[in-house]
Every structure is written in C-alpha cells, then in structure tokens.
Symmetry: C2
Subunit: 199 residues, 2 copies
C-alpha cells in the first residue's frame, strides 16, 4: 500500500486545513497516511525567526487570514486566528504522539485544530488539551505519558528529521522521497505516492 | 467584460509560470487581463530584505527550484534558476510598460521570462532586453522610451499601488477587489472575476 508522511505543526493554519481534508482524499487514492507532528519553532529559530512569519511580515499575515477564511469556507469549515498566535504547541504535539501509539492520535489532532482555529481556544493550556483526548479515555494518563522521556525524544527526532528533509514551513507531505509543501500540494503528493507504489 | 489585474515581477520564478499560462485560461474564462509589471525590491526592502527570500532562506530556495521544475515540467516548460538570481529587472519592467502602451507588452513579457527561466540569459543586460522587443520593432526607440520620466513614474506608481493592495510577493491577481497571491491561485482568481462581473 502506498504511504505518505504528513508533517504537521499544530500552530499552522494551513496544516489545520490539510488535516481536515487529508483522510478522505487519502482513502480515495488508496494511500496510507503516517501522521507526523513536529515543531516549527526550532526550524524558525535556526533561520533567525522568533515567531511566525505571519507576525514578522504583517502584509503576509493579513493575507494568510483572508486566504484561510476563503479556503476554509470552501470546505464548510470555520476559521479564526487564535489569540495568541502562534500558540504553544509542545504539549499538543507530545499528546498527539501518545495518541498515535494507540488509535486516537488522528482524531485528537483534528480536535486540536478545530478547538484552535474554529473555536479560538488556547491549545497551550493543559486543561484544554486534556479535554480533547476524547470521552472514554484517560486524559490524565495521556498527559502524564506525554511527559515521558521517550515521547519527548521522539518529538525532537521528528523535528530533526523534518529539518533534514528540507522542511521550512507546514504542512508538508513526503511522497516517493519528494517534499511537497503546503495544503495546496496534497493532491499532487497523493498522486505521486500512488504512482510510485504502482510503478 | 470581467477584468483581472495581474501583478508580476520579472525576477519571480512563479510569475514566469503564471505568465506562461494566464492568456489561454483567461480567454476560456472570458476575463480580460491587465498586465501590471511592478518591482518587488522596494517591498522586500520595506520588510528588511535586501535580496530574494529564496536566497535568505536556503531550504526554501532549494524547495522553490524543485517545485518550479515540477510545475514547469507539467506544463511542458523548461525551468532553470538564472545566475545571478534574482536579476535586475528595472529595465525589463520599464520596457514592458512601453510595450503595453502598444500591442507588444504581453509577448515581450513572456519572452523575458523564457529568456531568463528557460534559457538562463541575463535580463539585467540592455542588449538582451533589446533583443526581446521583437522582430520588426524599433528596439533602440523602445529602450529610449523606457527611460522617459512618465514611464519611470508609472512603474513607481504600480509598485506603490501593489504595496497599498497588501502585496508582499509575486505573482498576484486582483479580482473583484480581492488579492490572490501565487501561481496556484490563478484559477480561483479567474473564477472570482467572472462571478463578480456576472453577479
């Protein structure tokens, strides 16, 4: 079965849109998606940025809001810029790794995006993150597990792998060894993954 | 007839791809395109950049080359990064304005892009620009006219207008009063222009 790596950062508005549409498109294309949370912060820091480029370059930031509103509306999704932006996504990314060890990582990731970009909630807050783990699951255990050394190390390793792959933003799709950057490239990446697997 | 403003910068690789595909798509959509050369240099300078973001951020620059090769290949176009990159585009933009006063500005613009991004020629060179004015036309007169005060002022005014419109990169499409940034947004902008005109 063809596979595609989906590198996403919870603070990224375009990753929100990609996360909300990737599952049915991948299913239709017969492609298995590996959900790969990572952190853009260290990558931005390495290129001299201490916040989102949308804050550093206000014209670009204003355009991003307008475009995400348009793109979300076309999919029937709400969009609002959370306050603060960008949010602290370290805990969310670690909990996502915990969920991906089990069967609830994808649902949790979508819930984090909806909470942040549709409802404007602060996903830097552990209580918010706990509430998104899902009913019938032990949120306290998930939050505790998120602080384990191997989970922390795994997130660091994913972020380092992203850097080695040439990643400089989000979302990203790795298909057939190629990097595809941006929500707009999802269809192209899925086609590349399919084509590579079938020769 | 619905109209769309196409703001393009000759140094921009994604503007090259947009310029090569806009005419037939606009014709099919029944949209008139106003070709609007402008300069990104003053806009980049205002946000603290002294060169292209693709030089300032090497990972992004490497990705841009890979992506432009993919996008160009899909359209049957060649792509190479010219040396130097970015090139000095002041003269090319002024000559394009001269050509757009007459009937050869669009052909000239496409020829400048092909010379630079398919053939790797230096469009900062006046001899190269003169050779692209087109056979049967007075290249010396066009180059002389490009130095006239009203042409210089018109290019400055377009660049200032771009800044007022919130432009921060290239290419851009202005349709129904909305800014659409990037070659990927051409189809969406044409649809918006059509829809706006027909109500």
């Amino acid at each position: 079965m063809p596979t595609l790596d989906f590198f996403y950062e919870f603070a990224s508005s375009y990753s929100y849109i990609a996360a909300m549409r990737i599952a049915p498109l991948a299913k239709a294309a017969g492609v298995t998606v590996r959900w790969r949370p990572f952190l853009l912060g260290p990558i931005f820091k390495a290129q001299g940025w201490d916040t989102s480029p949308f804050n550093l370059y206000p014209a670009k930031g204003r355009y991003m809001v307008r475009e995400c509103e348009r793109e979300a509306a076309a999919l029937g999704l709400a969009f609002r810029l959370p306050d603060p932006f960008p949010q602290n996504t370290l805990l969310a990314a670690r909990v996502a790794l915990v969920g991906l060890e089990a069967d609830w990582g994808e649902d949790f990731s979508r819930a984090v995006y909806a909470a942040q970009f549709a409802e404007g909630r602060n996903i830097g807050d552990a209580a918010v993150i706990g509430s998104l783990v899902g009913s019938g699951r032990d949120a306290a255990a998930a939050l505790a597990r998120a602080g384990a050394d191997d989970i922390k190390a795994r997130l660091r390793a994913s972020t380092e792998e992203a850097q080695r792959l040439g990643i400089f933003g989000a979302p990203n799709f790795i298909a057939a060894g190629e990097l595809y950057w941006g929500n707009d490239r999802l269809e192209q990446a899925l086609a590349a993954a399919s084509k590579f697997a079938t020769g």
